[in-house]
């Protein structure tokens, strides 16, 4: 059974359908890609999963439990963590405190309790952020700021990690290194749902990919199947373009 199941999700903003009967699943210990052009509904799906947005119909199931009506903080406590496409860092805090406060929040409800201070240092090392730890989070480059968001999410020791364009702002070498990190997290048993425009990263790390366009699922399959899918090529390149 998949760890996360989104079944028949529908979301409308006025007359525009942001999600149209979307089904997405994610398994523990695997990285699932979620790709599509801008405006396809990827972030809307993340918002539905984390509870920042309520779907007009459809259900979100985590570990066999219907969480569709739960508020965001309760979903987090069940093991969902995320990053944001538009950075949502705590701009008054340093890099270290951004990560540490996540551990301190988690230590209020998580058992066994982990020392947030020690865990913060471990996560800073894991993400190679140690040299920036005492910098104001508004002063660091976007790519590093996205890593801070990942670190913050990891402090909650999630079952599933929803990453919204985490490689954006990182250079090629950093992206490569970041891909290895994702594979390492995945090997530890975490499920990862990855929204990313860097197709090479998606193809490298994902075991399964869903493709959205205009709020609907237009394809799903392994990276190789997706790469060869003409509908996906049309969505990305336009129907009149030569592949």
């Amino acid at each position: 059974m998949p760890l996360l199941e989104c079944q028949h999700l529908n979301v409308a903003f006025g007359g525009a359908k942001a999600l149209n009967n979307v089904d997405v699943t994610a398994d523990s210990g695997a990285i699932t890609g979620l790709i599509g052009p801008n405006g396809a509904g990827k972030t809307t799906l993340f918002n539905c999963v984390t509870g920042l947005l309520h779907p007009s119909s459809g259900v979100v199931v985590l570990d066999g439990r219907d969480i569709t009506r739960l508020p965001p903080f309760k979903r987090s406590r069940l093991g969902i963590a995320r990053t944001f496409q538009r950075l949502e860092l705590f701009s008054s805090l340093t890099v270290r405190d951004n990560i540490r406060v996540a551990g301190e929040i988690a230590s209020r409800w998580q058992r066994p309790r982990v020392d947030p201070r020690r865990e913060t240092e471990r996560v800073l090392d894991l993400l190679a952020l140690g040299h920036l730890a005492d910098r104001d989070v508004t002063e660091i480059p976007t790519g590093m700021a996205r890593r801070v968001e990942v670190g913050r999410a990891l402090m909650t020791r999630p079952k599933i990690l929803l990453l919204d364009e985490p490689a954006s702002g990182q250079d090629e070498a950093e992206t490569e290194e970041f891909g290895d990190l994702l594979l390492q997290l995945c090997a530890d048993g975490i499920a990862i749902l990855l929204v990313e425009h860097d197709v090479s990263l998606v193809m490298k790390v994902c075991s399964y990919v869903h493709v959205l366009d205009f709020g609907s699922t237009i394809a799903r399959g392994t990276p190789n199947e997706i790469q060869a899918n003409p509908v996906v090529l049309d969505a990305y390149l336009g129907a009149d373009q030569e592949p």
Partner: protein
């Protein structure tokens, strides 16, 4: 039935004026993103200008109307946009609320200075066409009211067309959504903003002219409050919809008139006679609670310019010690009246501390701090004075203080609980509405509340005689009725609470509060129960406001129920606290001292100068003295747009580099102590001491920087423009290229220099 219809007609007339006022607010907000709290003040000063033109200088009515509504009021709007509001870009919601509050107080202060500087004066605006009226269902309806209805309908229709059917309207709304995108598409957002502020202010002026005759003799703050009454209509329209705002205004007008009908203008139920005045606030509170709010909002990193640094506990303890020592030294040099002013300031600083926690740390807004002071006062009074109305205790007891804090926390919690989903402006308006409701229904209530619980009779005395007296403490064998002792007690309390707040800020709890302020959405997705955290902060802050309020009441000794509880004082305190530096303990200290100095000390100095130099009496007393008293605090508030982190931050930034010259700084501090000793012993005058110290604050840092330029190189370069904004804020110029070349050590720099030399 005829009565019902007659009151309906009157309700529509009243609702029409509300509609004009409320749609003006909607125009400004929907096209600039600023909730113009100063709307009522623009209405008031416009009404006064109209009175001056029409009745003072006997211009014809049409000419006076045109000059007021079409020239003066729009000019005020344009002036505000050009001089004040443009500085609010990239500031927090708190700052964008505070600046209009400052403008409100400045305009009302200016109006007082111009028209009422010599105290009471009867200005009675007349209705259009005087007392001529129609008979509608047996009810006299003045032509003035009929004109109001016609103008309201024309305004609503015209605005609807302007905002939703015209190109200018689309441009105005686009200005709020994305100013830069609008510019890239050829729009001119600055011009659109000017237009919207001119229209909004014009409508405020029209509402003021229509409302003023209803008052009889014009009272500045009462007329401003009448325009505040239109807020529920604007909020009902979510500050965006003109048609819903119009309907809301009608509901508001009808509700007030039906209440008059049912209660015989409040005479049927004396205990609730002030309910009429509380109706708009009740409707505002209800509108805020029941209207759908946006989902959890995040914040984009580096969105605002406000930045607050956090002291270490060691630094906080050291500065606390310095404050206590400085206060002890200062009061030893002061005369009785000056000590009272300083103590008033310290009491206000204690109240402002509650805002440091709530607004500075948590980003939430409370525009009813004095209301909690009133609640604390009533609670303490029950316990320490008793039902007979005679003082039974000589000392304010610790029990009474703790009980007052507890009740304030509970009341704060009860208010916050339904309002928790609100944020920023909406929460501020909810607390302001709450303050108004409590003021009208509780603080102005002179009938004791009697009841029984399980057969036990009880009586709660509110402001039964119109005022309450609170004894000062008598603790540890020290009689704090002595003003100097009470000043020191409040100083020590301030330091202890300040240290506790710094401790909170540096703790895990504090980091969670800051995180909640920065991004509620991210916090929620990390498992934080935001509602519970917000509730806790609000309750703690309310308890602190109660404690501060009680000390303030004990400082005043006797408080009348119309003393500072009507909402404006809370607005002023909030504004000054933000100006002082809402994220700093020192900001709260500065706020209290500023308020005391600007409203009491400075005018007293000018009164003294006026009496010493009778030929310059008008200049010193009426001119500078009253101007400082009425307009000074507000002008300081308006400057906030330039430095949204507050004055405390500016002061710290100015003095922090002195740490690099520890010996020089220590010598400076030591010489101040020596001078104080000489002054205390009478070797030099107190004024001499004060002037030398004040002068040294400005001179010594510059001297030290001049002596050690190599240690202050970065400070000297600090005033330079942010390079990221060059090219966006203004066109890129040649000297910018030279600067970049120089700072990046590019060859172009050398080339340009060699070009210049060759």
């Amino acid at each position: 039935m005829q009565d019902f219809l007659a009151y309906t007609v009157l309700g529509i007339c009243l609702g029409s004026v509300y509609a004009i006022a409320a749609t003006g607010l909607v125009v400004t907000y929907s096209t600039s993103g600023v909730f113009n709290v100063a709307h009522g003040a623009v209405a008031t000063i416009s009404a006064l200008v109209y009175w001056q033109l029409r009745q003072g200088w006997h211009l014809s009515t049409p000419l006076a109307i045109v000059l007021t509504i079409c020239v003066f009021a729009p000019a005020v709007g344009i002036f505000l946009e050009l001089v004040v509001m443009r500085g609010l870009r990239d500031t927090s919601e708190v700052t964008r609320l505070v600046i209009p509050i400052a403008v409100l107080l400045a305009i009302n202060g200016l109006a007082t200075w111009v028209w009422f500087r010599d105290g009471s004066r009867a200005i009675v605006p007349k209705k259009f066409f005087g007392e001529q009226h129609l008979q509608v269902l047996g009810q006299a309806v003045y032509y003035h009211q009929v004109i109001g209805v016609g103008l309201a309908m024309a305004t609503a229709g015209g605005l609807y067309v302007l905002l939703y059917r015209s190109r200018l309207g689309v441009t105005m709304r686009a200005t709020v959504d994305d100013r830069r995108l609008l510019m890239l598409n050829g729009g001119r957002p600055d011009r659109a903003s000017l237009g919207s502020w001119a229209i909004g202010a014009g409508l405020a002026g029209l509402a003021g002219v229509l409302l003023a005759p209803q008052q009889g003799a014009l009272q500045i703050f009462a007329l401003t409050l009448l325009v505040f009454d239109a807020y529920p209509a604007a909020v009902g329209g979510r500050l965006r919809s003109v048609p819903i705002t119009f309907v809301g205004a009608m509901v508001l007008g009808l509700t007030r008139q039906y209440f008059d009908w049912v209660s015989h203008a409040g005479q049927s139920w004396l205990a609730l006679r002030n309910l009429r005045n509380a109706i708009p606030a009740i409707l505002l509170f209800a509108a805020l609670l029941f209207l759908p709010q946006g989902r959890l909002r995040g914040a984009v990193v580096a969105r605002t310019r406000e930045r607050f640094t956090v002291p270490t506990m060691k630094q906080a303890v050291a500065w606390g010690g310095v404050l206590i020592a400085a206060m002890a030294m200062l009061q030893a040099l002061m005369k009785g009246a000056a000590v009272i002013s300083l103590a008033n300031g310290m009491a206000l600083s204690l109240m402002a501390l509650s805002l440091v926690l709530l607004t500075g740390y948590a980003g939430e807004i409370n525009l009813a701090v004095y209301t909690f002071a009133g609640v604390a006062l009533i609670v303490a009074w029950q316990l320490d004075v008793g039902p007979t109305g005679l003082a039974t205790r000589a000392s304010l007891s610790v029990t009474a203080i703790l009980a007052a804090m507890l009740v304030c926390a509970v009341v704060g919690g009860l208010i916050a609980l339904p309002a928790l989903r609100l944020r920023g402006l909406y929460l501020g308006l909810a607390t302001f509405a709450f303050g108004t409701i409590v003021y009208q229904l509780v603080i102005l209530q002179t009938k004791p509340l009697r009841g029984s619980i399980f057969g036990h009779q009880f009586t709660i005395n509110l402001f039964t005689t119109g005022s309450l007296t609170v004894p000062r403490p008598h603790w540890f064998g020290i009689d704090f009725r002595d003003q100097r002792a009470f000043l020191m007690l409040m100083t020590v309390m301030f330091v202890l609470i300040g240290l506790a707040l710094v401790g909170i800020r540096r703790s895990a709890y504090g980091r969670m509060i800051i995180a909640m302020k920065d991004s509620p959405a991210a916090c929620a997705t990390l498992g934080l129960n935001i509602m519970r955290l917000k509730l806790g902060v609000f309750m703690l802050s309310s308890a602190l406001a109660g404690l501060g309020g009680l000390m303030w009441a004990a400082q005043q000794r006797t408080l009348a129920n119309n003393n500072n509880f009507d909402g404006f004082a809370s607005l002023l305190l909030f504004m000054i606290a933000v100006v002082g530096g809402i994220g700093y303990i020192s900001g709260a200290l500065l706020a209290g001292i500023f308020l005391s100095v600007l409203s009491v000390v400075m005018p007293n100095i000018f009164i003294k100068l006026g009496s010493d130099y009778p030929s310059l009496h008008w200049f010193f007393v009426t001119g500078i003295g009253n101007f400082t008293k009425f307009v000074g605090p507000a002008l300081i508030g308006i400057r906030l747009g330039k430095n949204p982190s507050g004055i405390a931050q500016q002061v710290m930034d100015g003095f922090r580099p002195l740490k690099r010259v520890p010996l020089g700084t220590a010598a400076w501090a030591s010489s101040i102590v020596v001078l104080w000793f000489l002054s205390w012993r009478g070797a030099i005058g107190h004024w001499t001491f004060a002037l030398v110290v004040i002068g040294s604050v400005f001179i010594v840092p510059r001297v030290l920087m001049g002596m050690f330029p190599e240690r202050f190189e970065d400070v000297a370069n600090a005033g330079q423009e942010d390079p990221d904004l060059i090219g966006l804020a203004r066109p890129f110029q040649r000297h910018d290229r030279d600067r970049f070349d120089r700072e990046l050590a590019l060859p172009g720099h050398d080339r340009s220099r060699s070009d210049a030399t060759s």
